[in-house]
C-alpha cells in the first residue's frame, strides 16, 4: 500500500517532482565537481610549483667554502671536493623516488673561451640516467630549470657542442650559432677543445654570462672525469607543518615511520643523504617555504569554496523541496482527512524525497565528473581523475539535504487542520 502510494505520486504528477529533481541534479553536479577538483588540486599545484625550479641543493659535505657571486663559482677547479656522477641513478631508488621530478648536476669551470675568461658550465639538458633497477630516467635542466629559453637548439649530450649565454653572445658578436669556439682551461694549457655553438640561451641569471656545455665536456676540460660539484633536485613535497619541523631524533618509532613515509622535504632530504654518502642536502628555503605556504593557503581556500558550493547545493535542494511540499498542502489535507497519521504522511514524503535524491544524485555525479574533467583540462591541461569514492558521499549528501529540506514544511503540515486546507484557506 505504502509503495503504491509513493509510486502513484510519481506516475500521476511527475511535473511536481521535476523541480526538486533538477535542483538535486545541478546541486550534486556542482558538489561533485568542486569536491573532485579540491581533492586533486594539491598534487596538481605541487607539480606546477616545480616550475620555480629545484627545492633541494646537494653539495659535497667536506667542501671548501664556495666563493660564489650571482651563481658563478670563483673557486679554482683544483679546490674543493666533488661528487661522483655514477651514483646519481640511486636517487630513483629512495622511498619517495616517484616524487623526485628531476635532478641536474652542475660543474662550473672557469676557462678561456676564444681567449676571454668565461665560466664554462657543465650540465645535462635531457640526459638518460641509468637507474639501478635497469631502467633509465631522463632528466636535466629541461626539467629543473624550465624557465631557461633557447633560440636555436640545445647541445646533444656528450657531443662537442655548446650553448652560449645571452650576455656572452651580446659581448661576443663575432660568434654566431653554427660556428666553433675554442675552450682552454687556462693560458698555459696546450689542449684546445673545439665546441660547435648550437644555440643561445636566456636564463635571466648569472648563466647568461657564460657558456653551457654537456657535463662530460666540462669534466674533460677540468680533468674531473665523472664528477660534479652541485646537484639541484626538484621534488614534489607535502607542505611543511609542525610535525615535519620536529627533529627526527626525538620521535618515537611510530612517529618516525610516519615522518619517513610522508613526502616532507625534510624526510626526502634524509633519504637522499642515505643513498649518496658524503653529501650535504639543503632545502632551498626561498622556493620550499613559498611553495609550502601557498599550497596550504590555496588548498584551504579551495576547501572553503568547496564548502560554499556544498552549502549552495544544499540550499538549492532544500529550498526547492520546501516549495514543492508547500504546494502539496491540499494533498496532505486529503490524506489526513481520510485518516492518515502524521507518521504515514511524513513517511510517504520522505520516501519520495530519498528516491529523488538517489536518482538526482547519481545523474548529478555523472555530470559533475564531466564538469571536473573539463575544469581540470582548462586549468591544468590534464583532466581531473575520477574518484568513485565520491559517489556514495554525494548520494548520501543528496539524501540528507533532500530530507532536511522537507522536514520543516512537513512539521508545519503535521500541525495543519485538514478542514481549512481543503476549503482552500
Amino acid at each position: 500500500m505504502f509503495a503504491r502510494l509513493v509510486g502513484e505520486s510519481f506516475v500521476r504528477n511527475p511535473r511536481r517532482k521535476v523541480l526538486t529533481a533538477a535542483a538535486l541534479v545541478v546541486g550534486m553536479a556542482v558538489a561533485t565537481s568542486t569536491l573532485t577538483v579540491a581533492l586533486d588540486v594539491g598534487d596538481r599545484l605541487a607539480r606546477e610549483f616545480r616550475s620555480f625550479g629545484a627545492n633541494l641543493l646537494v653539495t659535497p659535505q667536506s667542501d671548501t667554502l664556495p666563493v660564489e657571486i650571482g651563481g658563478v663559482d670563483y673557486r679554482p677547479v683544483d679546490e674543493g671536493s666533488y661528487l661522483p656522477e655514477a651514483d646519481l641513478g640511486k636517487l630513483k631508488t629512495i622511498f619517495w623516488r616517484h616524487n623526485i621530478v628531476g635532478f641536474t648536476p652542475f660543474l662550473d669551470v672557469p676557462a678561456l673561451v676564444n681567449n676571454t675568461q668565461v665560466t664554462v658550465i657543465g650540465t645535462w639538458y635531457a640526459h638518460d640516467v641509468p637507474v639501478p633497477d635497469g631502467s633509465t630516467f631522463k632528466t636535466g635542466v629541461s626539467i629543473t630549470h624550465p624557465w631557461w629559453k633557447i633560440s636555436g637548439r640545445w647541445f646533444n649530450d656528450g657531443a662537442d657542442e655548446c650553448v652560449m649565454g645571452m650576455a656572452f653572445a651580446a659581448s661576443h658578436p663575432e660568434v654566431a650559432v653554427g660556428q666553433t669556439v675554442y675552450v682552454a682551461e687556462d693560458e698555459i694549457s696546450s689542449s684546445l677543445t673545439p665546441l660547435v655553438v648550437t644555440g643561445v640561451v636566456s636564463t635571466g641569471d648569472a648563466e647568461d654570462k657564460g657558456i653551457l656545455v654537456p657535463l662530460s665536456v666540462a669534466q674533460k676540460i677540468s680533468g674531473h672525469a665523472g664528477e660534479f660539484r652541485q646537484l639541484f633536485v626538484s621534488a614534489l613535497t607535502k607542505p611543511a607543518d609542525a610535525f615535519s619541523e620536529r627533529d627526527p631524533q626525538s620521535m618515537t618509532p611510530t612517529e618516525y615511520d610516519r615522518w619517513f613515509c610522508s613526502p616532507y622535504i625534510s624526510s626526502i632530504s634524509l633519504q637522499i643523504r642515505q643513498v649518496l654518502p658524503g653529501v650535504d642536502v639543503r632545502t632551498i628555503r626561498r622556493v620550499a617555504d613559498t611553495e609550502g605556504r601557498i599550497l596550504s593557503h590555496v588548498g584551504m581556500l579551495l576547501w572553503m569554496v568547496t564548502l560554499a558550493a556544498l552549502l549552495a547545493a544544499a540550499l538549492a535542494v532544500a529550498a526547492t523541496s520546501a516549495t514543492t511540499i508547500l504546494e502539496r498542502r491540499a494533498e496532505v489535507g486529503i490524506m489526513k482527512a481520510i485518516g492518515a497519521t502524521n507518521v504515514l504522511v511524513a513517511g510517504i514524503f520522505l520516501a519520495e524525497q530519498v528516491m529523488l535524491a538517489i536518482a538526482g544524485g547519481a545523474i548529478g555525479f555523472v555530470l559533475g565528473v564531466g564538469l571536473a574533467r573539463i575544469l581540470g583540462q582548462s586549468v591544468f591541461g590534464t583532466p581531473a581523475s575520477v574518484r568513485i569514492v565520491l559517489l556514495p558521499v554525494v548520494l548520501g549528501l543528496a539524501a540528507i539535504v533532500a530530507i532536511l529540506g522537507c522536514l520543516i514544511p512537513l512539521r508545519r503540515a503535521a500541525r495543519f487542520d485538514p478542514a481549512p486546507i481543503l476549503r482552500g484557506e
Binding site: A23, L57, Y74, A167, R293, L301, M304, A312
Partner: protein, 384 residues
C-alpha cells in the same frame, strides 16, 4: 494605492515568503563572499609570492658586477643615483629595494664573499631566512655582521664571536650578530652593512658605489614588467632585468589559481542563481489565485503583473542587500583564516550582487505573465 497593495502583499504572506527570503539572503551571501574573495585573492597571492625574494635586478649592464680580487676593474653604479631613482618611483607596491656591493675578502687565508647591503631591506627581500642570534638593525652599523651557515661552520663562528676581514691592504674587525640559514648561496657569504664594505674597498675609490640593486616588487606579471620598463627609462645607463625564474613561474601559477577559483565561483554562482530562480518561480505560481481575484475585480493585467514584479523586485533587493553584508563578513573571516590578513571589501560587490538578485528574482516571476491569458473564473474555481 500601488505602494499600499505592495506593502500588504509583503506583510500578508510572511509564511510563504520566508522560504524565498532565506534562499535570496543565503544565495546573495555566498555569491558576494565568493566574488569578494575572487577579487581580493590575487592581491593576497602576489603578496605571498614575495617570499620568493627579489624579482628585479638593476646592474651596471653587461660587464661583471663583482669586485673581483684584483683582476678586471669593476663597473659600478653610483649609490645615490640609483636609489633616488627607485625612491621616486613607487608605482606598484614595492616590498623592498636593497643595494649590494660584493667583494671577495679574506678571513685568514680563505677567500669569502662579503656582501655589503642595507640589512633592513635585505631582510624584507628574504623573509624565509632563518636567523640564529640577532639581526643588524641599522644601515650604518659598522661593528656587526651576519654570517651564512657554511661560513660559520668553516670558521667556527657563533653570535658574539669576532671576525677579521682583509681586503688587499684594508681590514675590518666585526662582531658576528647572527648566523643565517637560507639553503641557498647566501649560506656561503658574509653580510655586512654597505658602509663597511665600501670602506673596506675604499682604496679602489668605491665609496658611495654599489654593484647591483635587488628589488622585490609586488604585482601581476604585467604590472612588474611595466614597472621594470619605467625604471629602465629612468636609469638608461644601467640594465634593469626581471628575474625570470621568479616572475614567469609566478605569473603562470597566479593565472592557474585565479582561473581555478574563478571557475569554481562561477559554478556556484550559476547554482545559486538557479536556486533563487526556482524558489521565486514557485512563489509566483502560488500567487495565481491573487491574480485571478484581482483580474475579476477589474485590474488590468499589466498593473497586476507590475505589482507582483515590484514585490519580487523589492524582495530581491532587500535580500541581496542583507546577504551582501553577511557575505562580506564571511569573506572577511575567510581571508583572516586563509591568509591571516583581511581581504578588503570591494564596493563593486554590492551593486553586482543586488543587481543579480533582483534580475534573478524578476526572471523567476516572469511565468506570471502567462497568467494574463487565463480567465479569472477558471483560476478562482481552482481548476488550474
Amino acid at each position: 494605492m500601488f505602494a499600499r497593495l505592495l506593502w500588504k502583499l509583503l506583510l500578508g504572506s510572511r509564511g510563504r515568503l520566508s522560504v524565498a527570503i532565506v534562499a535570496i539572503v543565503s544565495g546573495a551571501a555566498v555569491i558576494s563572499a565568493l566574488m569578494n574573495l575572487d577579487l581580493g585573492v590575487e592581491y593576497r597571492l602576489t603578496q605571498e609570492f614575495r617570499t620568493l625574494g627579489a624579482n628585479l635586478v638593476i646592474s651596471p649592464g653587461r660587464a661583471a658586477q663583482s669586485v673581483d680580487a684584483g683582476t678586471a676593474s669593476p663597473v659600478l653604479m653610483g649609490q645615490d643615483t640609483v636609489m633616488r631613482a627607485i625612491e621616486q618611483m613607487r608605482a606598484p607596491e614595492q616590498v623592498a629595494a636593497a643595494p649590494y656591493l660584493y667583494v671577495i675578502a679574506r678571513v685568514g687565508d680563505t677567500p669569502v664573499v662579503v656582501a655589503g647591503t642595507w640589512l633592513d631591506e635585505a631582510r624584507k627581500l628574504a623573509p624565509t631566512w632563518k636567523l640564529e642570534g640577532s639581526w643588524v638593525a641599522s644601515r650604518d652599523d659598522i661593528a656587526h655582521c651576519l654570517v651564512g651557515r657554511n661560513v660559520a661552520r668553516q670558521f667556527n663562528l657563533a653570535p658574539g664571536s669576532t671576525l677579521n676581514l682583509k681586503y688587499i691592504d684594508s681590514s675590518a674587525q666585526l662582531t658576528v650578530a647572527g648566523v643565517l640559514d637560507s639553503g641557498g648561496p647566501d649560506d656561503n657569504q658574509i653580510f655586512a652593512s654597505l658602509p663597511i664594505v665600501q670602506r673596506l674597498a675604499k682604496l679602489r675609490g668605491l665609496e658611495g658605489q654599489i654593484g647591483l640593486v635587488q628589488l622585490s616588487v609586488q604585482g601581476t606579471a604585467a604590472e612588474i614588467s611595466a614597472y621594470a620598463a619605467q625604471l629602465a627609462k629612468a636609469l638608461p645607463q644601467f640594465e634593469v632585468r626581471p628575474i625570470r625564474q621568479v616572475t614567469e613561474a609566478e605569473g603562470a601559477m597566479l593565472g592557474r589559481i585565479r582561473l581555478l577559483i574563478f571557475s569554481m565561483v562561477l559554478l556556484i554562482l550559476v547554482l545559486t542563481a538557479l536556486c533563487v530562480l526556482a524558489t521565486m518561480a514557485a512563489l509566483a505560481m502560488e500567487r495565481r489565485e491573487d491574480v485571478g481575484l484581482m483580474k475579476a475585480l477589474g485590474g488590468s493585467i499589466s498593473r497586476i503583473v507590475g505589482l507582483f514584479l515590484a514585490e519580487v523586485g523589492a524582495l530581491g533587493a532587500a535580500g541581496g542587500l542583507i546577504g551582501c553584508v553577511v557575505g562580506l563578513a564571511l569573506s572577511h573571516w575567510m581571508g583572516e583564516r586563509v591568509f591571516g590578513a583581511v581581504i578588503a571589501a570591494r564596493w563593486e560587490v554590492f551593486p553586482l550582487t543586488v543587481g543579480l538578485m533582483v534580475i534573478v528574482a524578476l526572471a523567476g516571476a516572469l511565468p506570471l505573465r502567462l497568467l494574463g491569458k487565463v480567465k479569472p473564473a477558471v483560476i478562482l474555481r481552482g481548476e488550474m
